[in-house]
Amino acid sequence: MQANLRKALIILFASACLWQSYQYWYTTRGMENGSEALASWERRFEEAREIIPIKRGVIGYLGEWDIPGTKYDVADQTAEYLLTQYTLAPLILERGANAEWNIAILNSSTFQAWEQEHQGKYQVYRLKNHVYVLQKLGNK
C-alpha cells in the first residue's frame, strides 16, 4: 500500500512540476516590452548630460515629492529618482536644488509654481519631456 502511494506521489509530483513549467512559460509569452520605457527614460536625459559640465560629484534632484502641496505617488517618485540616478551615474543625485547643478523632473504647472518662488536664483534650461536643468546662480 505504502509502496504504491509512494509511486503515485513521485509520478504526481514530477507531472505537477512539468505542468507548472509549461504554465509559467505560457504566461510569459508575448510579455510587454518594459525595457522600452527604460530606454526612453535614458534618452530623456541625453541633452541634460551635455549641458551639465561636471562628470562626477553631487548634483541636486527635484521631483514632485520635493514641491510642497503637490500630489504624487511615492512609488512612482522613488522609481523616477532611482531611474535618473541610474541614468546619470556616476553623478550622485541628492534631493533638493542646493547644488550648483540640479536636475528637475516636474510637470509644467508644478515647475511654474516652483519657478515663481525661486525667480532669479537659477538659470533654467528647459528640455523636452518635463526635464529641467537648473544652474544655481552666484555659487560658482
Binding site: 510579455m31 531611474l83 540616478q85
Partner: protein, 467 residues
C-alpha cells in the same frame, strides 16, 4: 555581445572549475558536474575580488583587470595538466541508467527546456533586469565602469539609501569588469552573469544530490528547482539574490559532503564559498556567521573544534576582503538608522506588535510561496511525510548542521525585521519573498538528500524490465 560576454565569463568559470579540480581530484560524471557548478561561482567570486584589488591598487591601469584573470587561468591550467599527467584513471565514467532514471531525466530536461524559454522571454522583455538591477546592482556597476579612477563614489553616503551604497560588490564588479573588457556598456553582460548563476544553481543541485544519493533523486530535486517560478524570476533579474542562493547552497552542500565523506578539504572550500556569499550581499555576511554557529551547535564538541578550524581557514581570505570593505570603505547600513516616526532601535526591539506582524507575514508567505497553486513548502512537507527519511543514506550530522544553519538564518532575518527603521509592512512586502528564496535551494537539497529515492520506490519495475 552575448557571445563575447559568455566567452569573458568563461575565463573565471574555467579557472574556478580547474581550481576545484586541483583540490578535489575525484573522478566520475557527478563529481565533474559538481566541480563545474562550484567552479562557476568560485571563479566569478574570485574574479570580482581580483578586480576589486586592482581598482584599489591600480585603478588607472584597466588592462590589469584582464591580464590577471587570464594569467591565473594559464597558471591553473598548467597545474591541472601537470596533475592529470600523473593519473591513469579516466576523467569521465558514465553509469548505466535505468528506465526510471531515463524517465525522470527526460521530465527534468523538458522542464529545463521550458525554463530556458522563460528566461529568454524575461530577458527579451526586461533586458536591463528587475527593479533592483538598475536601482542597485547595475547602478553600482555603472559608477565603477564609467569612472574607474573615482570608483568609490558608488559607496558615497550622499547616495539615496534606496540605492544601497553599502552593499557588497561581487555582482556589480563582475559586470563592470565585463564592460571594461568589452569596452562597451551592454545589458548582455549582467544578463550573462545571471544566466551563469542560474545554471550553476541547477547544476549544483543536480550534481550534489547525484553524488550523495542517486541520479533519479538528483533529477527530481532539479525538477523542483527549475519548475518553481520564483527561481527563474529571481534568476533572470540581474540582481544578487540568485548568486547568494547559490553561495548558500554551495556552502551547505560542501558542509554535507564533509560529514558524508569525512574530508576536511570540503570544509575549507565551504568556508571560502561562505565568504564569497558575504561578498555578494549583506545577508551572506549573516549566513557566514550563522553557518559557523551551526557547525558549533550541531555535532559533538570534538567535531566542532576540528571542523570549525577548517571552515574558519577557508573563510579567512574572503572575509578579510569583506571586512576591509565594510570597515574602511562602505557607508553604514540604512538598517541601523533612526526609524520612521523617529523610533529608536530599542523602541523597535521592545515593540512586540512588530513580532506578531512579522510572524503573520512569514506564515502567509510560506503558505503561498513560489508562485505555485499550492505552496512549494507544503508540497515538500507532504512529500517528506510520505517518502520518509532514508536513515541508511543520509548523513545525520550533515543534515542537522544544514537545518540549524537555515533556522538560524531565518532567525537572523526575523531580527533584521524587528530592528528595521523602514515601514515594517512595506519592508516585509518588498523583501520577505526574496529572503526566503535565499534558503529555498538549500531546503530542496536537504529534502532530497534525506528522503527515500525513486530508484528504491520503483525497484521492482526496473528489475522486471531488466529481467
Amino acid at each position: 555581445m552575448t557571445l563575447l560576454s559568455v566567452s569573458l565569463f568563461l575565463i573565471p568559470a574555467l579557472t574556478g572549475t580547474l581550481l576545484i579540480h586541483l583540490l578535489l581530484p575525484e573522478r566520475g560524471i557527478a563529481f565533474l558536474l559538481f566541480k563545474l557548478a562550484l567552479g562557476m561561482g568560485l571563479g566569478l567570486g574570485v574574479n570580482s575580488i581580483i578586480y576589486f584589488l586592482t581598482l584599489l591598487i591600480a585603478p588607472a591601469w584597466p588592462r590589469a583587470s584582464l591580464i590577471l584573470p587570464g594569467g591565473l587561468l594559464i597558471l591553473v591550467l598548467t597545474l591541472t595538466i601537470l596533475q592529470e599527467r600523473k593519473r591513469n584513471t579516466p576523467l569521465l565514467t558514465f553509469p548505466q541508467i535505468s528506465r526510471v532514471q531515463w524517465i525522470l531525466l527526460g521530465v527534468t530536461a523538458s522542464a529545463l527546456f521550458f525554463s530556458g524559454l522563460i528566461f529568454f522571454n524575461w530577458t527579451q522583455s526586461r533586458p536591463q533586469g528587475a527593479y533592483d538591477a538598475w536601482g542597485i546592482w547595475n547602478r553600482s556597476a555603472r559608477f565603477i565602469y564609467r569612472d574607474p579612477e573615482n570608483w568609490q563614489a558608488t559607496l558615497s553616503p550622499d547616495l539615496y539609501w534606496g540605492t544601497h551604497p553599502d552593499y557588497p560588490l561581487l555582482v556589480p564588479l563582475n559586470v563592470a569588469w565585463g564592460w571594461s573588457a568589452i569596452g562597451h556598456e551592454t545589458p548582455r553582460t549582467p544578463m550573462v552573469q545571471s544566466a551563469f548563476f542560474l545554471a550553476a544553481n541547477l547544476l549544483l543541485m543536480f550534481s550534489s544530490i547525484y553524488m550523495t544519493r542517486t541520479l533519479g533523486q538528483a533529477s527530481l530535486a532539479t525538477l523542483v528547482m527549475v519548475s518553481t517560478p520564483v527561481f527563474i524570476s529571481f534568476g533572470y533579474g540581474q540582481i544578487a539574490d540568485s548568486p547568494l542562493a547559490f553561495f548558500i547552497l554551495a556552502t551547505t552542500t560542501l558542509i554535507y559532503m564533509y560529514f558524508k565523506f569525512d574530508q576536511p578539504k570540503y570544509l575549507i572550500l565551504a568556508g571560502f564559498i561562505a565568504g564569497l556569499g558575504a561578498w555578494t550581499k549583506n545577508e551572506g555576511l549573516l549566513f557566514a556567521v550563522v553557518s559557523l554557529f551551526a557547525l558549533f551547535l550541531a555535532p559533538g564538541r570534538e567535531e566542532f573544534s576540528r571542523g570549525l578550524r577548517w571552515y574558519a581557514l577557508g573563510l579567512l581570505i574572503p572575509m578579510i576582503v569583506v571586512l576591509y570593505f565594510k570597515i574602511a570603505l562602505a557607508p553604514s547600513s540604512d538598517l541601523f538608522a533612526i526609524g520612521e516616526n523617529n523610533t529608536s532601535l530599542l523602541a523597535r526591539v521592545l515593540d512586540f506588535s512588530r513580532y506578531w506582524i512579522i510572524i503573520r507575514a512569514v506564515v502567509k508567505t510560506l503558505f503561498t510561496y513560489a508562485g505555485w497553486p499550492i505552496s512549494i513548502f507544503i508540497q515538500m512537507a507532504v512529500y517528506a511525510l510520505i517518502m520518509r527519511v532514508d536513515g541508511s543514506k543520509v548523513s545525520r550530522h550533515g543534515a542537522l548542521v544544514i537545518a540549524v544553519a537555515v533556522i538560524l538564518q531565518l532567525f537572523g532575518y526575523f531580527a533584521i525585521y524587528v530592528v528595521t527603521p523602514h515601514d515594517l509592512v512595506w519592508h516585509l512586502n518588498s523583501a520577505l519573498g526574496r529572503l526566503i528564496f535565499h534558503i529555498f535551494p538549500t531546503t530542496v537539497f536537504l529534502l532530497f538528500a534525506s528522503v527515500v529515492d525513486p530508484e528504491n520506490v520503483f525497484k521492482g519495475i526496473d528489475q522486471n524490465i531488466l529481467s
